[in-house]
Symmetry: C2
Subunit: 699 residues, 2 copies
Amino acid sequence: MTEADLKYLFSPRHVAVVGASHREGKIGYTVMKNIIDSGYNGKVYPVNPKGGEILGKKVYRDILSINGSVDLALIIVPASIAVNAVEECAKKAVKFAIVITSGFSEIGNIDAEREMVKKAREHGMRILGPNVFGLYSASAPINATFGPSKVRPGNIAVISQSGALGIAMIGKTAEENMGLSTIVSIGNKADITEADIMSYVFNDDITKVIFLYIEGLENGRELMELVKKKPDNMKIVAIKAGKSKVGARAVASHTGSLAGSDKIFDAAFKQAGILRAESLEDGFNWVATLAACPKPAGKNVVIITNGGGIGVLAADACEKYGVGLMNDMEVLNKTFGDVIPKFGSYKNPVDLTGQAGGDDYKEALEKALNEEDIHAIIALYCQTDMTPLEPLKNTFREMQRKYGNRKPIIYSLFGGEGTDKIIEELKGDGIPAFYDVEDAVSSLNALYKAHEDGKKEKRESLDIDESRIKKVIENVAGDGRTQLLGTEAKEVMVAVGLDVPPFKVVKNIEHAVNTAEEIGYPVVMKVISEDIVHKTDIGGVLLDIDNEKEVIEGYEAIIRNCRQYAPNANIRGVEIAKMVPDGVETIVGITTDPSFGKVMMFGLGGIYVEVLKDVVFRVAPVSKREISKMVREINSYSLLTGVRGESRKDIDSVIDTIYRIGILADKFPEISELDINPLVVYEKGAKVLDARISIEVKK
Amino acid sequence: MTEADLKYLFSPRHVAVVGASHREGKIGYTVMKNIIDSGYNGKVYPVNPKGGEILGKKVYRDILSINGSVDLALIIVPASIAVNAVEECAKKAVKFAIVITSGFSEIGNIDAEREMVKKAREHGMRILGPNVFGLYSASAPINATFGPSKVRPGNIAVISQSGALGIAMIGKTAEENMGLSTIVSIGNKADITEADIMSYVFNDDITKVIFLYIEGLENGRELMELVKKKPDNMKIVAIKAGKSKVGARAVASHTGSLAGSDKIFDAAFKQAGILRAESLEDGFNWVATLAACPKPAGKNVVIITNGGGIGVLAADACEKYGVGLMNDMEVLNKTFGDVIPKFGSYKNPVDLTGQAGGDDYKEALEKALNEEDIHAIIALYCQTDMTPLEPLKNTFREMQRKYGNRKPIIYSLFGGEGTDKIIEELKGDGIPAFYDVEDAVSSLNALYKAHEDGKKEKRESLDIDESRIKKVIENVAGDGRTQLLGTEAKEVMVAVGLDVPPFKVVKNIEHAVNTAEEIGYPVVMKVISEDIVHKTDIGGVLLDIDNEKEVIEGYEAIIRNCRQYAPNANIRGVEIAKMVPDGVETIVGITTDPSFGKVMMFGLGGIYVEVLKDVVFRVAPVSKREISKMVREINSYSLLTGVRGESRKDIDSVIDTIYRIGILADKFPEISELDINPLVVYEKGAKVLDARISIEVKK
C-alpha cells in the first residue's frame, strides 16, 4: 500500500455517517455536528433506519440507498451490527470506513474484527479502527470526531495510540492555540496502521511537525525504518508512556542484563531523529516551537531581557541544556551598544532594564535579527508597571512577521493576567511563547536537536569470513548447544576481522608445552568446558605462565581443580593463549530487544559496567559516525582519551570493533547475545581477550 | 533585634505615604490606591507639599503636620530629598520607613544611603529598602506596593532579592490564584535584611510556606543558621539564580578544585531543609502544594485515573522522582474492587475508565481517603465527552473540604478549555491542580522531600589533641609557609584520632635502617621537601621496601634522584612509613567556600574523583547521620558495600573519619584546604595514607 492510497481518507469528497443520531449528546449526533461545523464542503449523508432529518440533512435508511458516491463512511452503530454496516459500505464502493464503534479485539472479540476487515477488503475498502475517535483533517477540511468541535487548522499532525488521550489532546491543542493538519488515533489497528498514516502525512504538503503519542511498540525497528523516509524538514516529537523496567529476562550476557527497554527506546529515537519528550507539557511546547521556527543558522543565542533576574535564570537554563550563548563582546557591543540604557548591559543576557517598552524591545530585537552572527533569540519580559503591554505585543508580532521565517525567536513572559493573555495571543499567531524561562530554553534546545545533522551515511563494505562463522554456528547448533565455547566465540571474532591474541586448545601436557612455546611466553591457560561457568573461581584459569615448568604444573593443576570441583564436567581441553599487556578494558556487546531487534552496547569494563552501569546502546546496524558519537557518550570516556598522564588510546580501533560486531549482528541474526569482555584497548590497536556468544536457533 | 520588632511593619496601625501623587500612573498614586483598595483599615495620610486631596484623603504638606501617630511611612520622593524625608519621619516617631525610592548604593550612591540609616536609627526608626517595590501584608491587611492591586490573602510568604521579579510575582501569584501572607523585597538592605524578615515570618502565625528568590548570598552560613530556627511545620522553597561555575580559583586541593559554588548551594540547601526549585514554574507548583497539603503519613501513593495513557505517564513520573506507588494488591482490591467498572483496573494506577463521572471519582476518592494504608493520592482526569465537568469539580472540592487536612490529594486535569478553567478554580480554593501529570508528581515529591525527617542531632563530643595540632600549625605559620609538609599533615591526622600507619622522618642511612626495622617491613620511603610537589614523578617515592638492603639502596636512590631533578630543593629527610595492604581508596576533604565557609567533601579516590568527579559535599560541621547520607550519595557507593565478591568495607570508619575532619575544620578555621588522599578503607578500619593541608593565617 502506498501513501497516495490514503488521499480520500484525509480529503474525502463525500461522507456518510452510518449510525447518525437524532439525539444531542449521542456520538452519532456529535460527529454529524462536528462535520457540519468544521465547514466541510462535500456532501454529508446521515444513515439511520429511522429516517427523518438530522441537523437539516436528509437521513438515509441504509447506505445503499444513497444516490451518489461516498469516499468515507463513519461507522457508529453498535458492535453487533457493525460488521454488516461495514460490508454494506464496501458493497457501495466506499473507499474508507472509520469504525468508531468499540467492542472488538480490545475486549477479546477478535473474530468479528477479522471478519469486518475481510468483508471490507473483498471490495477494496480500507478500515481505520475500530475503537477510534474519528479523524480531523485540515486538508478537507473535516472534523469527523466526537471530540471538541473547535480545532485550529495548521501544520501539526497528532497521531495518538490512545483514543482517550487523543480526544483530550484535541481540546488541549485548541486551548493552546495550536494549529493541526490532522489528529487521528489508530485504535485496534485492524487494517490501517501508524505506518500507513505516517507515510501519508510525510507527503501531505501541510504537515511540518508530527506529535506522536506511543504506549507500546511491537515493532520498533519498523518505525525506525519508516521514519527514514520522512522529508528532511519534517520533525517528529514523541511521547512514549511506560518507562518502567522490563521484567527479569534470562540472559547470558552483560549486554542483555543491562538493556532496559527504555534505554533502548531512548537510543533508537535518537538514532531515528525523533525527539523524545518526557512530559505532555514539554511535548506541546516543543511541537509549537518546531512548527513556528526555522532552522537556526548557528549556535549563537542571545537573551534579551528587561530584568536581570529572569535573564540569569535563562542563562542558567542555557547552561543546563547546553544551549550556546553568544559571547563575542565585539558583536554584542556593536549590536546593542547604542540600544542599552544607563545601568543596562549589552553583555549576554542583554539587559534593557525595567524601563524598556515596546520600542526598546523593537530596536534591540531588530538589531539582533539583522546581525548575521546572532542565530537565535530568547526574548524575556518580566512584568513591570512601567511597560504598557499592547505595544510590546505588537512589536513581537511585527518581529515574527518580518523575521520569523529567517531566525528563531522564542518568548518567555512572566507576570500576571496581562502577560498570560499575551502569551495566549502570541501562541495563536504561531509564535512560541511561554511563561517559564526554562520552557523557552528547553524548546529552543529541542529546535537545535531537531535540526542536528542527520546526514545518512553509507555503510562500508567489509570482508568478514562468513562461511567460517557459519560453520562454527552450525557446529554449535548441531551439538544442541545455544552457547558457544570460549574458543568458538574467539574463532568467530577472528573471522569478523578482530585482533584476537593467538590461542589453541590442547588435550595433553606435551601438546600444551609445545603450543606455549609456539605462541611464546608468557601465556594464559584456561579450561574449556561448557559445564564450568565460573572458571576462575574454581581454579580453571591461570595467568602469566612463563616457562615449560609452569605450563606442566599449570596443566595438572587445572585438570585437578576441575576434577575436584566439577567432577561431572565435560572437559574439552585447555586453552593456551598469548598473555597480553594491560590496557583499558572495554566491553562491546549485542543483545536482542523484543521491539527493536539487535541492539549494540559499549562501555568500559570491570567496575564501570558492573557497578556504574556506564554503558550506551544503539540499535544495530550503526554507522561509524554514530558509533563515534556512541563511544563519546560514556561518562568515563576520558579514560580512553588519556588522563593522569596516560596516553590516548586507539579509539578508532574501538569504533572499528563495534562496527564489525554490528555487521556480524546484521548478517547472523541467530546470534542473540554477545559480549566481548574485555576488549583491551592500547595506544595502537585493541585486542579481544574473551568473548561470549549465545545463539537462538529457529525451529 | 528580635522578630517581634517588625510587628508594626507588617501590621501598621496607621500609615503615611510621603510623596503621594495626584497623578494616576505615578508610583505615589498607585501606592495610595493599592493601600485603599486592599481594605486597609488604619488611617492613610498622603504627604505632598502641594496639599489638596488624593483619592478622597486629605493631603498633608509635611509629615510633621500629621495629627496622630504613624507606624509606617512609605517614602516615594526623589532620591535627592529622600534622606530629609526619612529624617522627618524619624523625628515624628514613625516606627518603620519603606524607602521605595531608588538611586542609592545600587548606583554607587553609598554615602546618602548610610546617612539615611544613621538619621533613622538616631530616632529608633528602622528602614526597609531603599530601592524596593513596597510591601504586601495579609495580617494588616495592606497592599503598600506599586505592583498589581489584586493580591489574594493566604499562607505563602514571598521574599525576593529582586524587586523586578518580585513585582512580576505579585501578578503571577494572583493569576495562579495563590494566597499570600506577605510579599516583600529587600532592595539594598541598608538596614532590615532577609534574616530579619524571615525571623518575623517564622512566627507570624499565618505563613505556612516561604517562597524565596535568591540571586546572590554573601553569607550562606548565616542563612543556614537562621533556617534552623524556623518552626518544623514551616517549609521553604527557594530559587537560586546564577548557577554558572565559579571562575578558576588557585587551590591546592582536589576538594577545592571540585567545589563549584552551585554544588555547595545544593548541598547546603539540602542540609538546611530548603527545597531548591530549578524553575519558576516548579517553584510555584511546589509552593502551592506545600501550602495546601498535610504531611503524608507514609509512602503509599495511589494514582486514580479515567485514562490508561495518563495513568502510565504518571507512573513513569513516579518512578523518575522516586515517589512510591502502593502495590499491596490486597489493599487495592479491598479499596477499589467494588468501584471499578468492567475493563477498569484496581491495580495502581487505578483505572476508573473513560466512563467515570463525578460520582465514580467521589466513590473511589472517598474509599482511598478512608483507607489507612493509602497515604497520598494523585487524581488524574483526561477530558472525555462522557463526563460533565461540573460534578467533577464539585467532587474534588468536597474531597478537599472533608479530607484535605488529613491526606494530600493532588490533581492533574488534561484537556481543553473546560479543564483549564477547573484547574484555575481548584487552585483558587487552595487545591493543588495542574495540567501536566509530571507537575503533579513533581509537586508530590516536593511534599515528601519537605517532610523528610529533619530531626536535629546532637554532636558527640570527641577527644582530639588540640594543643598538638595548634603546635604544628604555629610552627608552619612561623616558617612563613601556608602548606604543611606531608609528615606535619599526618601528625595532625594522628592528633585528630585517625589511624595513620607508623611513620618517621630520617636523615641518614643508619637511621633509615633502624627505623624500618622498628616499624617492620614492608615499608614505604618518601622524600620530605616542600619544594618537590610531584614526588613520585621524579623518583622520590619507593614502595614495598622489604629488607635492609633495599632500604639502603632506596635511600641512596631517592637522594640521588632529588639532587638530579630538583638540585635546589630543601630536602628535610626521608619518611619511612609502614606499607599497608590494598583496600578501597577514598578521599575526604575540606575546602573554604566564600559564602558557606568550611565545606566537606567525600568520594572514592583515583579515577572516581579525578575523572568521574563522583564526589559529594556538605557544609561543615555535619552530624553523623548526615554524613552517613552523604556517603551513600556517591554513585560508586556499592564499591564500599562490596561488589564482585568483595567483602563489605568498614563504612562506619569512613563516617567517623569525615566526622572528625568536620570537627577539625570547626576548631581550626585557619585550615583552608585539606585532602586525605587516600583514606584506605578495609573490612575493619580505615587508614590515612597521605594528607595535604593548607592554612590561611590571619594577618
